[in-house]
Each structure stands twice: as structure tokens, then as C-alpha cells.
Point group: C2
Chain length 376, copies 2
């Protein structure tokens, strides 16, 4: 199905390159810029859906690779779809499964047809094609499906990256042609590493296809941060102005503030939950972030962040959460995951508000200063 498309993105307001918009799915709309908590196996680690709602989540992400393996898309389809299965009734986006296969599992064999790999659970040989990825995602019943792409390492030479990119574009077309459900929004993904000409080629090639949104792939995959920021400086503007732009797998609050400044609308990252499980908390003010395991928090009666009203900050002190991590109580990771997600989603709400008020540039400058001074 590759019919002339309806645009599900509404651009409401701009402030410089920053955009305030809204994206519509059959499970409701979400405001942009926005951030998607990552629910790898259809669960945001340690956070139940009532808390997810409480902290302002509008859309979540699930991983096709993991759900393909367990419990399998057939089971979820029989169940009535991913929303019924996991209880989250708002919009859900799934990745293609490619990132896990390329970056984590090791490829067995890559061809024009698709990618052969071994299951991390039992080593069984599996084969993923662009068609198969979309079929799985439509079986899951997600609102937004991502195309399968090849995600090459940032240090590949130009010619090799260019050849990979051409296949990624052919895969994108095959993905779009596979869509069967009217309700599935499909996003294309640009690649091209940090090569400006390849990024332009990628944006143009995908922009000619009737995608419902455009994602920037292949960033935050190990390249130095200045290189990522260099690509962000020009690439979002190469993508269609009238469609949503999604920067995949990024990043720190600073990265998000940077990317919004360059015209990006949507983000996901495991950072708030993963770094939360390891004791790192993002906080407001000049402190920026902290490691709760640090001995200096041992008797600190202050909350993680005096500006925050999340479950962790309204009930507990740094000293208590330090204790939880020290004795390895599971409540510690739970609380920091909730706190960090609250921090991210509050940041997104503030970003939207600053754009609406035409004040994003000064907010951006202040956030950049705050992070720069912390990193010194």
C-alpha cells in the first residue's frame, strides 16, 4: 500500500528552527517536541503504566527485535495487539529491530534481501528483511513503524557508507510497499554517517517517498559528540518541512535541547532509565547530574532535585536513595528511573512552552551554559 498520503503531523508554531507541533495516531495525538520512554520488552523497566501517565508520558517505544523473540508477534496479534497486551492505550512506536541486530547481536550475513543473525536467547538462526520487519510491527499493532535500515559504524569510509546508503534506500521503498494497515504510520530513516553530501542524498531520496515521518539514524552510535552536533547543524533542515522529524536513540538532555534548536521533534533514549538503574540522576540547577552512590550523599536530607515533584523527590531524600543503592534494594533503580523520566518529560514540556512563548533561543543558551560549566 503506497497511496497518496495524508499528513498526520501538524506544525503549530516555530521559533527559529525549533518547532512546536502535534502528531496524530489512532491511539491519540502527542505534542512535539516530545520524548518516548523506552519499553524494550513492552515494559518501561521498573515503571508501571499509572506512574508513566503520572509523569506525563504521551507516547512510548517498544523494540521489535525483543518482542519478535518473546512473546512473538503472533501471540500479541492474537491477544488483540500491543496496546491491549501491555495496557498502554496511548500511541506506541516500534523500531525495526535492525539496531539491535546490527549493533548488539552480530550479523551472520547481510545481503540485498535482508540480514541473517543469531537469536541472543538460543542462538537460533533468524532472518530479517524490510518486509518482515513491517509485517512484525503491523502484527504488534503499533501506531508508528520504523523501516529496516543498515546502520553503519561512524568510522566507515565514504564509498562504503554510500553503498550501504543505497541499499538502505531500496529497503525503505520495500518497507513502505509492505504496509497493509491504513492505521500504521511508517517513518523512513536517513543514514549517511557524518558525510554532509550523503546525508543530503539520503534526505532527498527518502523525502520523495510518502513516509509519515522522517527519522535521523546513525547518530549517537559512538561518533564524537562534536561530529553529531555538526550533522545536526544542517541535516534536520534537509528533511521535509511539513513532516515530523525523529532523532533516534538520542540522548542527554543537552543533546535534546541542541537537536530541538535545529528543528528535531521527537526523541527516544534508554538513558533516563538505564543510567537511573546505575545511580545517575539528572537534576535542575547548576548541579546538572549526580551519582547517588557517591559517599557525599550519605547523610544528605535534600531530595534528588528540589524543583522536582516526582515520586522519588516528594517522598525520599538523597541519603535514603543512597542507602537503597548501597544495599541493592530494587526500589533504588525504580525511584531513579521515575525521577529521570520525570526530568526528561518536564524538560520536553518546558521546551514546548519556550517555543510557544518565542523564548527558545535564550532557554537554549542558558541550558548550553549550564551543561558546559558542569562538564569542565
Amino acid at each position: 500500500m503506497n497511496t497518496p498520503k495524508e499528513n498526520h503531523y501538524t506544525l503549530l508554531h516555530t521559533d527559529g528552527l525549533a518547532r512546536r507541533g502535534s502528531f496524530h495516531t489512532v491511539h491519540g495525538s502527542f505534542d512535539t517536541p516530545n520524548f518516548m520512554p523506552v519499553g524494550t520488552r513492552a515494559s518501561v523497566k521498573g515503571v508501571d503504566i499509572e506512574r508513566l501517565k503520572e509523569l506525563g508520558t504521551q507516547i512510548t517505544l517498544v523494540n521489535t527485535y525483543h518482542l519478535w523473540l518473546r512473546p512473538g508477534p503472533e501471540l500479541i496479534e492474537r491477544y488483540g495487539g500491543i496496546h491491549s497486551f501491555c495496557g498502554w492505550q496511548g500511541p506506541i512506536l516500534s523500531d525495526s529491530g535492525g539496531f539491535q541486530i546490527f549493533s548488539l547481536q552480530g550479523i551472520r550475513k547481510l545481503s540485498e534481501e535482508g540480514v541473517e543473525f543469531a537469536s541472543h536467547i538460543d542462538g537460533v538462526k533468524m532472518f530479517l528483511t524490510p518486509e518482515k520487519s513491517i509485517e512484525i510491527q503491523e502484527s504488534l499493532g503499533v501506531d508508528i513503524a520504523m523501516v529496516l535500515d543498515e546502520c553503519p559504524p561512524g568510522d566507515w569510509p565514504h564509498d562504503k557508507t554510500a553503498r550501504s546508503l543505497e541499499m538502505t534506500h531500496r529497503w525503505a521503498k520495500r518497507s513502505l510497499d509492505t504496509r497493509k494497515k491504513e492505521s500504521t504510520r511508517v517513518f523512513g530513516i536517513t543514514q549517511g554517517g557524518c558525510y554532509a553530501d550523503l546525508r543530503k542524498t539520503s534526505a532527498e531520496a527518502l523525502g520523495e517517498l510518502p513516509f509519515d515521518g522522517y527519522a535521523i539514524g546513525g547518530l549517537s552510535v559512538g561518533e564524537p559528540k562534536p561530529q553529531m552536533y555538526e550533522v545536526l547543524a544542517y541535516h534536520p533542515q534537509q528533511l521535509p518541512q511539513d513532516h515530523i522529524r525523529y532523532l533516534m536513540g538520542v540522548g542527554t538532555p543537552e543533546d535534546i535541547v541542541e537537536a530541538v534548536h535545529k528543528g528535531v521533534d521527537l526523541f527516544d533514549c534508554v538513558m533516563p532509565t538505564r543510567s537511573g538503574r546505575f545511580g545517575r540522576a539528572f537534576v535542575s540547577g547548576e548541579e546538572v547530574f549526580l551519582n547517588i552512590k557517591n559517599a557525599k550523599h550519605r547523610e544528605d536530607k535534600a531530595p534528588l532535585d528540589s524543583q522536582c515533584d516526582c515520586l522519588a523527590c516528594r517522598n525520599y531524600s538523597r541519603a535514603y536513595i543512597h542507602h537503597l543503592f548501597r544495599v541493592e534494594e530494587m526500589l533504588g533503580p525504580q525511584l531513579l528511573s521515575i525521577h529521570n523520566l520525570t526530568h526528561y518529560l518536564s524538560l520536553m514540556a518546558q521546551i514546548r512552552s519556550e517555543i510557544e512563548g518565542g523564548a527558545y533561543e535564550s532557554f537554549y543558551q542558558e541550558e548550553k551554559r549550564r551543561w558546559r560549566e558542569r562538564e569542565v
Copy 2:
């Protein structure tokens, strides 16, 4: 401090031997019969205090042994006490530390003075006396402190158990004499294994001391269940009628229903949280309990318990929770812990209501039938 005592327990109503009462502390009162969720290291595993309140918790328990080691009673005292530290502002009871030392760590040396043991964290030699245990508990600032007792294995012969019991009684007296704070309620603990004469001796000896409550120790420590029920059939009635009776470390919902029937008022057990973490759920109706990891739940859209309105049951199905356990998502143990605690505390509320209505005997018979048929 061993002054003539005020009685903090109010007996409101009896129904057969079952008692409906209330116990008063400076952090508020709790209704009896009641159950205390176990917060070993000042955290009920996986359950934040907002959820604890939501599911009807009135009093929680912490473990002196674990808090003695980390973060240490001095830190908690400097902090302002255990209530401020962990955020739970209702009544808190602590055990003496003895059970962990006798049952888990292995005793290095036991004498009239106290017990020498090795820390499970770094093997450091430590020494706990009846006086030290009360001092630690008063540093923690708990509402109810338990005396240090020797908890002998159920298979000890009569003479050895009797000698142990005599020392336990001397320790009880020393514990009571150590109390410094007016606000600390101190409970004595009876021992005597499954020997009826020793249990009587223990109840009488402790009953002569001005304790604020009386606990039954040394049951559910590996003896056959009929033996425990045999002791329950006579022992609670040997304890002072006008004081609260606490059966330590017990047990299944069936055990609780049984013990209330014989006049017990207070319970604690790791079972709802621990078995929850391993996938066992207690449910109403003829099913009684289930293992959510069982393949038969793989596609079951029903909640754990259609009679339950806990976080798990109002949002998720058995199929989804089965999936969470299968892929080892931490949300699975969190949800079953909350569900099981809700089941226990709802049971306690129903028990109180049945006693008030004079209907405890028929409730008891029905619960016994339900469990008996499930066990066949």
C-alpha cells in the same frame, strides 16, 4: 526503665477466641488483627510508600540486623530516626536481630552475655547482647522493639529447649531494663518449641514482666505444620488477655486465618513479597494461589484475581505478567509483590470485619475448606 505500665492495646470486640482491637504508638494506631509488610533494609522490596499506603498498610517491619550493618543506627539516629529516613510516618516495628543471626549467619559463640557472629557482608566479628539490641532499636527510633531471644531449632530435645528458654527469659528481663524512651513499646517473645509445658512456663514468666505486647517466637521455623497448629491451639490463650499477641514470621493466608481463630492479633512474613518475586500469586476463590510462570497463563487475558483492584489487577493481565517474568523484567516482581500484599491486607480487613460481625467462625471454616481442597 521498668515502670508500671500503661496498656497501649485496646480490645474492642471478641468473636470466639478471635479478637478485634487497636494498638497505639506515638506514630499513630493500627487496627488488629493486622499484617506488617516486611521492609528488611527499610524498604519493602519493590514497593514505594505511596503504593504501600494505597494498599492499606498500617504498620511496617524493619530488620535490626540489616540496618545495624548498613547504614548503621548512628546514621539513622543523626538523620532523625527511621521514620524520617525511610519516609514511612506510620508505626514501625523492628525485630531484635536475633532471628537473622541464629538462622542465617551461623553463631560463632553463644553465652549468657550474648551472641557472637560474623557479618555476612565482610565477615567482621560482631557481638549482640539483649541490651545492645534494644539500644540499636531505640537509636533507630522504632515504635515497637522486640527483645533478643534464642530461637532454638524445633527438633531440640526437651531439656536443651528448657535450658535455652531460661536464658531467653533472663534476656527478656535485661531487654526491658534497657529501655530508655517512654515512646518505645517493648514486646517479649515466648519460646519453648512445641513442648506444651515449656510454652506455658514461657507465657507465665514473660507475663509477669511489664511488656507492652507478647510475641510467639520459634514457630514456622521448619517444624511440620500440624505441630505449629497444635501449639497455636493452646498457646495464645496462655498469653495475657489484655495485651496484643504477635505471631512472628507467619505465614500463609491459611496460617493467619488459623492463628486469628486462636486469638492472635499481629503478623509479619516475607511470603507475600518473596513468593511474589518468584512468581507466586495468592488469589481469591477456589484457585487459592497460582504460579504466573506456568505456561497455562501465556495467553490468559484475565487479571491475576478478578476480585482484586490492586495496581496489577486493574491494569494488567496474567498473559502480560507471565511475559514479564519470562523475559525477566523487574516490573513482574514489583506487580506480584503489590498484588500479594494487597491480598494479605485485604484479608486482614475482611478478618476484622468478620470478627466485628460475629461471623468469624463461618469465615474460618470456609477459608480452611478452600485451602484444604486446593492442597489435595
